[in-house]
C-alpha cells in the first residue's frame, strides 16, 4: 500500500498525513481503542481529514461514524495542512506509548524537522521515483496534482472539472469544493484544504 507516496504539484508544504496501524498477529487485538485515542489526538490538533479504508472518512461517515465503524486492525489516516499541528500530534502520540506503528508523509525536509521537534528517531523511509511507462495516457498536470491525493485513484478529472465549474458559477465555495473532492477518497488521506487551493488554479 503506497497510497500517500506519489503526490505531485506545488503546495505540498501544506500537506501531511500521519498513518497509524497495528500488525496482524502481533498487536492487532485491542487496537481499535488505541487507534481511536490517536484519532482523538489528531482531531484535537487540527487534522483536516481523517479516515480508515474499511470505515470511510469524516466527510462521508462523520467522526462518530468513523469511530463506530473502526475495528481492530484499522489503518488510520490523519491529514494536516500545518506543520505545527503535525509536530503537536506526533509528540502526543509518542507520549501515549501505545505500540501502534506510525508513519508520517510529507516533504522529506519538513517531516525530518517534525520528527526532530517531536523527539522521534526516523526508522524506515519510502520515496517515489515518479511515474514511468506510457505517460501520454496521464491527465493534465493540474488535475494530476489533485487526483494523486487519493492513492486508490478514486478522485476523477470529471469530478474536478464539475466542481471547478460550480465554484466559477457561484454555486459552491472553494472550501466546499475541496471537501467534495475529499469524499471519494475513503481512507481520509485527501487534504481538502490543499484541494481547494489547487481548484483555484482552474478558475
Amino acid at each position: 500500500m503506497t497510497h500517500t507516496l506519489h503526490r505531485t504539484g506545488n503546495t505540498l508544504e501544506n500537506d501531511y498525513i500521519i498513518l497509524a496501524m497495528p500488525v496482524k498477529g502481533v498487536n492487532k487485538e485491542g487496537s481499535k481503542q488505541k487507534l481511536i485515542d490517536i484519532l482523538d489526538i489528531g482531531i484535537k490538533n487540527g487534522a483536516v481529514n481523517a479516515g480508515d479504508t474499511q470505515s470511510g472518512n469524516i466527510y462521508s461517515v462523520g467522526l462518530d461514524g468513523l469511530k463506530e465503524r473502526m475495528k481492530d486492525g484499522a489503518v488510520l489516516n490523519l491529514t494536516f495542512d500545518k506543520k505545527e499541528n503535525v509536530i503537536k500530534t506526533l509528540k502526543e502520540i509518542k507520549d501515549l506509548q501505545n505500540g501502534m506503528s506510525v508513519v508520517v508523509t510529507g516533504l522529506m525536509e519538513h517531516t525530518k524537522e517534525c520528527c526532530q521537534e517531536a523527539g522521534l528517531q526516523r526508522h524506515t523511509v519510502a520515496r517515489s521515483l515518479g511515474v514511468w511507462g506510457n505517460v501520454e495516457k496521464l491527465p493534465e498536470e493540474k488535475c494530476m496534482n489533485i487526483m494523486t491525493m487519493c492513492g486508490h485513484g478514486l478522485i476523477t478529472a470529471t469530478l474536478i472539472y464539475d466542481l471547478a465549474e460550480k465554484v466559477k458559477s457561484g454555486k459552491m465555495t472553494l472550501e466546499q469544493a475541496g471537501i467534495e473532492v475529499a469524499k471519494p477518497c475513503v481512507c481520509g488521506a485527501c487534504n481538502p484544504v490543499r484541494a481547494a487551493l489547487l481548484i483555484k488554479e482552474f478558475l
Binding site: H6, V125, R127, S128, G133, L138, M147, K183
Partner: protein, 241 residues
Amino acid sequence: MRIREESCVGCGKCAKFCPMKAIKIEDHKAKVDPLKCVECYNCIREGCPVNALAKEELSWPRTLAESLSCPTGVDEKSGVSGRGTAEMKTNEVTGRIGHQKVGICLEMGRPFTGTTFIDVEKACMALAKHGAYFEPLNPVTYVMKDTTTGEIQEDVRPLFVLSAIVEALIDADKLEEVLKSCQKLSKEVDTVFSVGVSSLLKEDGTAYFDEAIEKMGLSMYAGGKTNVGLGRPLYDFDKER
C-alpha cells in the same frame, strides 16, 4: 457493477465518479462498459439518487479485480485488504526490510490508467530475473505460476484492474540493475506505473537506495514517507548482521 435500467433517470452522477470512464449516458440511461469497469464501486459509494446501481455476483478472476480495485475490499484468498501489504509502514515491528535490502513497489496502472495483468506480468518478470523476493501476502504474488520467473496464471492475465502493486524485496547492491530493467519495462508496457523504494535508515541518516539512485541520475519526489519507529514490540535488526 450493473445498472438497473428501469430505475435509472440518466442524471450522470455515477459517470462523474467513475475513474475508468466506464459509464456513459445514452438515451437518458447510464450504460456500463464491462470491459472497462474494474468493480471499484466508487459510483455506488457516492450514492445514486434513485438507487439504480448494484453489485453483481462475481466469480474468479473477476473477484480479484474487485479486491484490487475497491479499497474497502478484502482479498478472499490472502485476507489482505487493499492492493498490497503494510510494507514499510510496520517495518520496526515486522523486520520485513532489513539491512542491505531495498523494498521496491511497482504500482501498475497508477495513476488513473488501469492495467491488465499482461503488463503486471511484464513487471513481475523484470524483477524476478534479478532474484527479487516477492511479498507472499501481496495478491499479485499468489497469482504467479512461479515466483522465480514472475509468470502469471493464464486465467488472470487478461484481467483489467484499477491498479496492482508488484511488491518485492531486493539486495541493495542489485538496485541499479533492477532500475535499469524498470527503465526497459517502461517502454514495453501499455500503461503507467509508479515506482517506490523503501529502506531502513542507516546511522548516518542515508537510505540503502540513495547511492544507486544518485549514480543513475534519477530524481526522487520531494515528498516521502517516514516510519517513526513507535510500533511495539520492536524487531531486532542487529540479529541479522
